[in-house]
């Protein structure tokens, strides 16, 4: 029997993987994908609680999150492409023009 705890642990693991990906990897695309992982980890959380509490609010919220994630993917990819056109790189370490 799967309990709420199982879902939350899974969600935490996926979220941590996402954070680790964002912090460790240098490729912007990979970082971006890790970001999506974190969002989906949150979605799992929401779904789990929705089921546990027998309320629809959580699931409705998931739809919102997915919509935002889709929009974010579009904008984010566009930014990365434009960045690549200007810098010929998508390595996060090399994009440091704002260094103080």
């Amino acid at each position: 029997m799967l309990t709420l705890a199982h879902y939350l642990v899974l969600s935490a693991i996926i979220f941590s993987i996402g954070i680790a990906g964002v912090l460790i990897r240098r490729n912007l695309i990979v970082m971006f994908m890790s970001l999506e992982l974190m969002l989906n980890a949150v979605n799992i959380n929401l779904a789990a609680f929705s089921n546990y509490l027998q309320q629809m609010t959580g699931q409705i919220f998931i739809v919102f999150v997915m919509a935002v994630a889709a929009a974010e993917a579009a904008v984010g990819l566009a930014l990365i492409i434009s960045l690549f056109r200007n810098k010929q790189t998508i390595n996060a370490d090399e994009i440091n023009t704002m260094r103080g």
């Binding site: 240098r26 440091n96 704002m98 260094r99 103080g100």
Partner: protein, 640 residues
């Protein structure tokens, strides 16, 4: 009243029109406006003079109350009395002549309109000075003439010498004006008013005289301190020793300016002021002694330097210094009428002489060295004759103007018992005759010493010769018309009531003494002229050269103007420059003020240089920081 106001309005309107529209619209028509303005003043001055002299007309009125400070009220008031009306005549006549002369002299100058604007300002200021009925208006006019003098000396400001000279004149005058200002404060302090009518009140003056203060261990009456302060102003404005050094340098200005401001009108403001305050000065015995000392010293210094100068305008300038010394000396011995009379005649002949020198300068291509001139009498007949008249007038040969006034000053000085001052004055009279005729002989007589310059010399245009002729006629006539018979002429009856303090003891002189003095001063003048003739016509250049060789140290001393400029440089200018550059600039300005100001910039820069390392520009550092921050926050709130 209406005429007095119109006198002021003429130059004011001309100044506004020329000043606002001159550059764009009026340009070369500026003299028309300026002359129209000063003509209004001239006509009004004549009318006022007529009214005052025939009907005993006088005005002491208030146009409006200008300053109200507690119980002190200062009106914008106008006073017309015999003294004012004489001054009005002097100022407007010379001003009108100089305006006309300037049409010819300044023709083609880039600042044509600017020149006439300044002239209008000057005329206006001088009229305010003489027309005011209180000390504040006197002071305002006083400072305004100082300003216009500054502007006009520096009219050719692109010449370094002119720019330096105008600054020097301004600064020297500031020193005197500081004393004047203190004098004014003492007037307010004692009389609680700045009106002449309140200050020149015998009872109040008597009271002030009794009040004494101890300064530097000596007792001075308040009246002495007050008049001494006022006289400091006169020393600056009228170029009295030790503040006389600015006047000769002021010759850097255009020649009409030298004639108007630095010979005829502005520099006599000090004499006017002392004469106006005769009620105060005649009671202040200590100040009077100082006034006589300053006047006699100045007369001697100016004349002695004038003996050796080679620059025509400088000879005239030192002559002016010397003649101003005469006037001041006359006020010191209480001969106020004689002082104003000499002011009047001096304005005519010295204005004339300066305008002549401008005419010569024109012919000589701005060359002023008398050593390259000579033999100009054929080339410039009008200038020659008018200059000669001016020289005779200043030398004191009767019946020309200078004789009457100068002789009266000397007689009054002798009569008042100041024998030493009289001796100096008589000696100076001889020197005056000598150096004036020295310049005359060198410029107009003899043979040309620079043939090229001589060939190009020519008589000046009518605009310049008309004022010369007019002033020459005045120089011949004013003395005998106003001053004959001696001490009993028109001017004495006219000015006597305002310029003779009630208690003044008349110095009755035996008729024979007066005649002897008169004969002596004529003899001295003739002697001076003869010596000049001997030196510069008969035995030129052998005798002058021999004399210079014999008295080499004296000649050098006089040629270098007694080294006053060098002395002041050493005593004041150099120490102040050193103090400023070492202490005030290098020590205080750089190390204290600049340091503080720079610290305001440096501290944020220092903080920034440390804090900038936080901003790496790498997105992952930011995210890491954020994650750590979130964890810390969660941990914090979870435990609480």
């Amino acid at each position: 009243m209406i005429f007095a106001v119109l006198t002021l309005l003429g130059p004011l309107v001309a100044f506004l029109i020329n000043g606002l529209l001159g550059r764009r619209y009026i340009k070369n028509a500026a003299p028309v406006v300026a002359i129209a303005g000063v003509s209004v003043s001239f006509v009004c001055a004549l009318i006022l003079f007529y009214l005052v002299s025939t009907q005993g007309f006088s005005v002491d009125g208030t146009l409006y109350t200008w300053v109200i400070a507690g119980s002190l009220q200062v009106p914008f008031g106008i006073l017309v009395d015999p003294l004012t009306s004489i001054m009005l005549i002097v100022v407007t006549t010379i001003s009108l002549m100089v305006h006309i002369y300037s049409i010819g002299y300044m023709h083609g100058d880039k600042g044509f309109w600017r020149f006439f604007t300044y002239l209008s300002v000057f005329t206006l200021s001088m009229l305010i000075l003489v027309l005011g009925n209180n000390f504040l208006m006197l002071f305002v006019g006083w400072e305004l003439v100082g300003l216009s003098s500054y502007l006009l000396i520096g009219f050719w400001f692109f010449k370094k010498s002119a720019a330096d000279a105008c600054k020097k004149a301004f600064v020297m005058n500031r020193i005197g004006d500081f004393g004047f200002y203190i004098g004014l404060l003492l007037v307010i302090f004692t009389f609680r008013s700045l009106n002449y009518s309140d200050a020149f009140n015998a009872e109040a003056i008597h009271h002030v005289k009794e009040t004494t203060y101890t300064v530097f261990g000596m007792n001075f009456s308040l009246l002495d301190l007050m008049t001494f302060g006022l006289f400091c102003g006169a020393m600056g404005k009228s170029a009295q020793f030790p503040l006389h050094t600015w006047l000769p340098d002021a010759m850097e200005g255009p020649t009409p300016v030298s004639a108007l401001i630095h010979a005829a009108t502005m520099v006599t403001a000090g004499v006017y002021m002392v004469a106006r305050c005769n009620a105060l000065f005649s009671e202040a015995h200590m100040t009077s002694q100082f006034v006589i000392f300053a006047g006699a010293t100045t007369a001697f210094l100016g004349a002695s330097i004038g003996l050796t100068q080679y620059d025509l305008k400088r000879i005239l300038a030192y002559s002016t210094v010397s003649q101003l010394g005469y006037m001041i000396m006359a006020t010191g011995v209480g001969a106020y009428v004689a002082a104003i009379f000499h002011l009047f005649t001096h304005a005519m002949f010295k204005g004339l002489l300066f305008l002549c020198s401008g005419s010569v300068m024109h012919a000589m291509h701005d060359n002023l060295d008398v050593r390259v001139m000579g033999g100009l009498k054929k080339k410039m007949p009008i200038t020659h004759w008018t200059y000669l008249i001016g020289c005779i007038a200043i030398a004191g040969i009767p019946p020309l103007a200078g004789f009457w006034s100068k002789d009266e000053i000397l007689a009054m000085t002798y009569g008042s018992g100041h024998t030493f001052a009289w001796l100096v004055g008589t000696g100076v009279a001889g020197m005056t005759a000598f150096y004036m005729f020295r310049s005359y002989f060198l410029v107009f007589q003899g043979t040309p010493r620079d043939q090229h310059l001589h060939d190009h010399a020519h008589e000046s245009p009518i605009a310049m010769t008309f004022p010369l002729v007019f002033l020459a006629i005045c120089s011949v006539l004013v003395g005998i018309v106003f001053g004959y018979p001696l001490e009993d002429g028109f001017i004495h009856h006219f000015l006597g009531p305002v310029l003779t303090p009630a208690h003044a003891h008349a110095h009755e002189m035996a008729h024979s003494t007066a005649t002897a003095l008169m004969a002596l001063s004529i003899a001295i003048a003739v002697a001076g002229i003869s010596v000049a003739y001997l030196f510069y016509v008969k035995m030129y250049p052998v005798l002058p050269e021999k004399t210079v060789k014999t008295f080499k140290p004296v000649h050098k001393l006089l040629l270098n103007k007694w080294y006053f400029d060098e002395l002041y440089d050493f005593l004041f200018v150099h120490p102040i420059v050193m103090l400023s550059s070492v202490v005030f600039w290098r020590a205080i300005d750089v190390n204290v003020i600049d340091f503080t100001v720079n610290a305001f910039g440096r501290v944020p820069m220092w903080i920034g240089s440390v804090a900038r390392h936080i901003q790496t520009g790498r997105i992952q550092t930011y995210i890491f920081t954020m994650v750590v921050g979130v964890i810390v926050l969660v941990a914090f709130f979870y435990t609480v």
